[in-house]
Every structure is written in structure tokens, then in C-alpha cells.
Amino acid sequence: MQQRPYAHDQPDQDEELWTELISSEMDAWQPHRLPRAFRPRRRMGRLDRRLLTLMAVAVVLAVLALAVFAGVSRGVVSRVVDLGHPEPVKSPSVQPTSVPEPAPDATPAGSGEGVGGVLVARLPGPSRDDSVDAAGA
């Protein structure tokens, strides 16, 4: 039986023709900007990454330090301003009127009143014994 070469070879012939046509045109395409030697773009190395991380940390720390310093200095300034305009210090001895001063003999010893009351009542003035001592001296 005779083989039919045409049916089998036709696709190959077509492919050859297309290969010829496409290759001949595509081989004429020349790039204009493509470099002749390969030059990889500079990629970020490990060292660069570390440096970048360190710089980022340094920037964050600097910002934090500035913020803290600004807060502290504001506090210091306010303190200095306060020193320039002192407020009267409130102490219990300045306002003795708040606690009524009982007469030394009015309250009998061991009457059961609060200890604090007795102490506050005696604080403002020198005791009678003290004044006697002072006079004697």
C-alpha cells in the first residue's frame, strides 16, 4: 500500500513556512536600550538592611527622647515659674482658729478626750513652765 506523504507532511511544511516567516522577521528586531552586558540592579544587601533598621530605630529613639525632653523641660519651666510666685504654705499652726483652744484647766487630765486635741491645743504657745524657766533665766 502506498503511503500518502502529503497528508502527513502538510502540517510540518506549514510549520516550516511559519517558522521561516516569523524567524526571519523577528531576527531583525534589535533592542535600542538593552545593555550588552548584564548589570544587575543594585539590590539591598543584608548590611544595608541592618543599617536601615538601625537608622529607623535611631530615629524612633530620637523622637521619643525629644518628646520626653520636651515634657521634662516643660515641667522644669513650670517649676521655675512656680518658684518665682510662691504660694503661701498652709500649715495647721497658721490657722489655729480651726481648732478651739481649750483652757489648760478646763479639761481634766485623763478625761478621755482625743489625744490629738490636747496636743494641738498646746502647740501654739509656750507652756506656763517654760515661760517661768525663761523668766528665771
Partner: protein, 179 residues
């Protein structure tokens, strides 16, 4: 000259001799990409990107494999991705879309091959370029495009039919020349 022709001159190991690989495949990769995207400027950028990626992944290249097929896989993927992005840009931002090529270049480059390739979808174009220009085997093309070899064969015959009709149609030619 396709990849198949290069193969006879001896394989280049991308890991140890990337400069030689670039020198050997620079034009082929550029032309293959240009055959798919049909824009010279974009093809140059994508060629550079192909070699950048290959350089980065040169350690992953398996010795004994074909460096040409390996490079073409990267190139075709980049080219098809580029065309997808372009299509999306045309759809989403039709007013802002600017073609990569100068207008004079678009007219001058309308040779037979370009007219024929222009009539194809990117997938068919990739098959045509890889088989008729890079001269890769069907199995290699199938691996690159991640399709069965039978699909490569059917795409190739569809592409040839479309190209034949395109070049045979004078009305199509006039329309192309008039544009």
C-alpha cells in the same frame, strides 16, 4: 536563531556563568517577548526584568535542564502578565492608557509577522513564538505554559489557521495599514 539551535553549542550554567547566559540569550529573550507583547519598549523592559529574575533565582536552576527553556518560562510569564495589566488598564482607565510605543513605530512595524501575531490572543501568540521562533518542543512549551502537550498542539493549529486567514484577507490588511 532559536533556543534549539543554541542548545547544540553547549549549555551554560546560570549559577556559575550568568554573564555568558545573558550574552547568549539576550536577543532571543527580547525578541520572544516582543513577539508576544508586540511593543519594542515594553519588550526591552521586560527582558531586563526577565534577566533580573533569572539572576535572583539562578541558584534554583537545576543542572542538566535547558537554560533557554528556563529563561523563556520567566519571559513568557512576564509578557503575559504585562498584557493582562495592559488590558486591565485599558478597561479601567481608558483615558489614561498610553501605549508603550511611539505612533510611528506602530505603523512601521506592521510587517507580515506582526500582522499575523497581532491577530492572536496572548496565549496563542506565546505558543507561536515558543514553537516557531524559540523552537522549543511541545513538551517544553507545555511545561512553560503549564498545559498538556495536546493543548499546545491544538493552540498551535488554531494559531496557524488564524494567521493564515489574517494574512490572506486583504480587507484586514487594508484596515491594518489604514490604522
Amino acid at each position: 536563531m532559536g533556543v534549539g539551535a543554541e542548545r547544540s553549542t553547549g549549555e551554560v550554567d546560570p549559577a556559575s556563568d550568568f554573564d555568558l547566559l545573558y550574552e547568549q540569550f539576550r536577543l532571543q529573550v527580547y525578541r520572544a517577548i516582543r513577539g508576544i507583547v508586540l511593543e519594542s519598549g515594553a519588550a526591552e523592559d521586560l527582558t531586563q526584568e526577565t534577566f533580573e529574575r533569572a539572576y535572583k533565582a539562578r541558584g534554583d536552576f537545576r543542572p542538566g535542564g535547558s537554560p533557554g527553556a528556563w529563561l523563556h518560562r520567566i519571559a513568557v510569564n512576564l509578557a503575559i502578565s504585562y498584557l493582562r495589566r495592559q488590558r486591565l488598564a485599558r478597561l479601567v482607565l481608558p483615558r489614561l492608557y498610553v501605549p508603550h510605543n511611539a505612533p510611528h513605530e506602530q505603523v512601521e512595524d506592521r510587517t507580515l509577522a506582526v500582522r499575523a501575531l497581532s491577530a492572536l490572543s496572548p496565549k496563542l501568540r506565546a505558543v507561536v513564538v515558543l514553537s516557531f521562533y524559540a523552537r522549543l518542543t511541545r513538551e517544553e512549551i507545555a511545561r512553560i505554559l503549564k498545559v498538556p502537550p495536546g493543548t499546545v498542539a491544538s493552540r498551535q493549529s488554531s494559531a496557524m489557521e488564524i494567521m493564515r486567514r489574517t494574512l490572506a484577507d486583504p480587507a484586514g490588511q487594508r484596515k491594518q495599514e489604514g490604522s
